[in-house]
Symmetry: C2
């Protein structure tokens, strides 16, 4: 008799892993059962979110990081989950995978998986969480979660991670910088990629300015080019972390070693300050609440005949019932 | 005795309107009751969604459209709802309002309202829907719903509209163009703003190419610079609309008249084809489902003591219970 599916995953079989990831992405019941069996084996991986606008070179940076983790004296097993919430097409993601394969193919210590939007609200964050869980159980020590853009979905997905990198590049307009103010709040490390392009000084200056806005409690000053917390002013909170701003050129690897050292420092900081545990709690609670919401809606909807549901929508269109009155009516007489 | 709140709104009192919008944004129970009373008076406004990346000049375009609607022989009452889902700060939106005020202030036929993200999943689309409902009942004939970016939230908000404009500008990189493929699917009209900038021909060519991908059923060819549906091939669907690509320079008004004529044509097309009714149905059904989901979760959660809830999350962290098992456990023994 062969191994069970969870056993195959735990022993690192790639075909079983690929199959399970597809089941999980399709929310199949078998996938869910396997996830339950694997859950006790999760909680070991370092989850690293990488987000930023299109054109910042995020994917190259993620590739470069994966290659370097593999080149360490004690190489890490690396999974890449690339999420593109804005595109209903899978074309881009698939193309991206193919480009990546050239560099990373053939290394059994790397696994890449792309996901495009399925159009379902909240569904993408949930599928990503489930995929991360699979990779974690399968023994991948570093999981890079790459998202595009700065919308709410991307922020929600980035919140899945222990360490979040926000990637910028020189030459993006002022308005683009401004919209990033929101996403800066979730940054543990700021990366200016394509640092060989003109305008890198301006980008760094803008980021430093916005970092002051996004972390107003901390008073940061710069001393010999190093960001430091103002001396003589003890941080109110022992878990203070000032997001460093680092420059990289992903295409030739410049600065990527320093970036990875900063990531290690952040992981150490999280563990020492107790923030690792707090982030785990927030992450698992969010995942659980997402599943709960989905299940409540599916169960409730299953108890309402389609005819009854359509009749309610008809009355909304006739303006004889408001959306809120419709909810109250269905909840009282419904499931 | 004074007028009731719904009466004040219906008679166009701006102070009552501003107060109700705040109640609605905060999801207050009074706001919800007033919404119910106003709902029968909605369904008359033309909802126009305007979306596009930062730097395309969307806000100037929206301002210019508002000014022109006011300058018509039969001026329209215009409301602007500006939504910025990516920013947890209200600063940007407030600044934007102030810049706008200079042009539009003092005209009682224009009302502007900004909303920044409250961080609640799905909450922004719901608040926007409720605000639109208030303006509709208050007699605003045109409601411009402006969103930034191309994420899922923005797409959801754009789906609120009868007519959706996607705004581009010359000189945005190829990668930025590529990510727009998703949002092109929701475009009824494509606008290339800042059409005086170099690169406008390239942008138009790229958009034409992507439009072919996004609307693959329709075979469009170009004849004397006019986009036409291939003759001799009847559209399978009587409600065929080929999104026109229009050039504007919002800062001096060039092309804005033509854009507004195209918007009128689209409205006429929607009414003649029956698509107006189909969009109304989809919009109201989505609004109702959002409220239903929210209410189900709030009701369920109210039935679970906090201690019980925290205990479940503790077991998730200890990996003795999976998120899915936690949902099943709470649903069986829960509310």
């Amino acid at each position: 008799m062969g191994k069970s599916i969870p056993e195959s995953i735990l022993s690192g079989e790639r075909v079983a892993l690929a199959r399970l990831l597809t089941q999980v992405e399709n929310s199949s019941p078998e996938g869910r059962l396997t996830l339950d069996e694997l859950f006790p084996y999760t909680g070991k991986a370092h989850l690293i979110g990488v987000t930023g606008a299109p054109g910042t070179g995020k994917s190259s940076l993620v590739n470069q990081m994966a290659l370097q983790y593999r080149a360490w004296a004690n190489p890490k097993q690396v999974a890449i989950v690339a999420v593109d919430p804005s595109s209903p097409f899978t074309g881009g993601a698939v193309l991206g995978d193919r480009v990546r394969m050239r560099d990373l193919a053939g290394d059994p210590g790397i696994f890449i998986r792309s996901m495009a939007s399925r159009g379902s609200l909240g569904g993408l964050a949930q599928s990503t969480a489930a995929m991360v869980q699979v990779f974690d159980a399968a023994g991948f020590e570093v999981i890079l979660i790459e998202t595009v853009g700065a919308g709410q979905t991307e922020v929600d997905i980035a919140r899945l991670a222990h360490t979040t990198l926000v990637v910028e590049a020189p030459g993006l307009g002022d308005e683009i910088q401004a919209i990033k103010a929101g996403i800066l709040e979730i940054a543990d490390i700021l990366v200016i990629n394509k640092a060989d392009l003109p305008g890198v000084e301006n980008t760094e200056r803008a980021l430093k300015g916005m970092l002051g806005l996004a972390h107003p409690v901390e008073k940061v000053f710069h001393h010999h080019g190093q960001a430091m917390v103002m001396p003589g002013r003890e941080p109110a909170n022992a878990s203070l972390w000032v997001p460093p701003i680092l420059r990289t050129i992903a295409t030739d690897g410049t600065g990527v070693g320093e970036l990875m050292a900063a990531i290690e420092q952040h992981a150490q900081h999280l563990r020492q300050s107790g923030d690792w545990g707090r982030r785990e709690r927030a992450r698992l609670a969010a995942e659980f609440e997402g599943l709960l919401t989905e299940t409540l809606v599916v169960q409730f909807r299953a108890g309402i005949p389609d005819v009854r549901y359509d009749e309610v929508v008809d009355r909304l269109i006739q303006r004889t019932l408001s959306p809120w009155e419709a909810v109250k009516e269905l909840l009282n007489r419904g499931a």
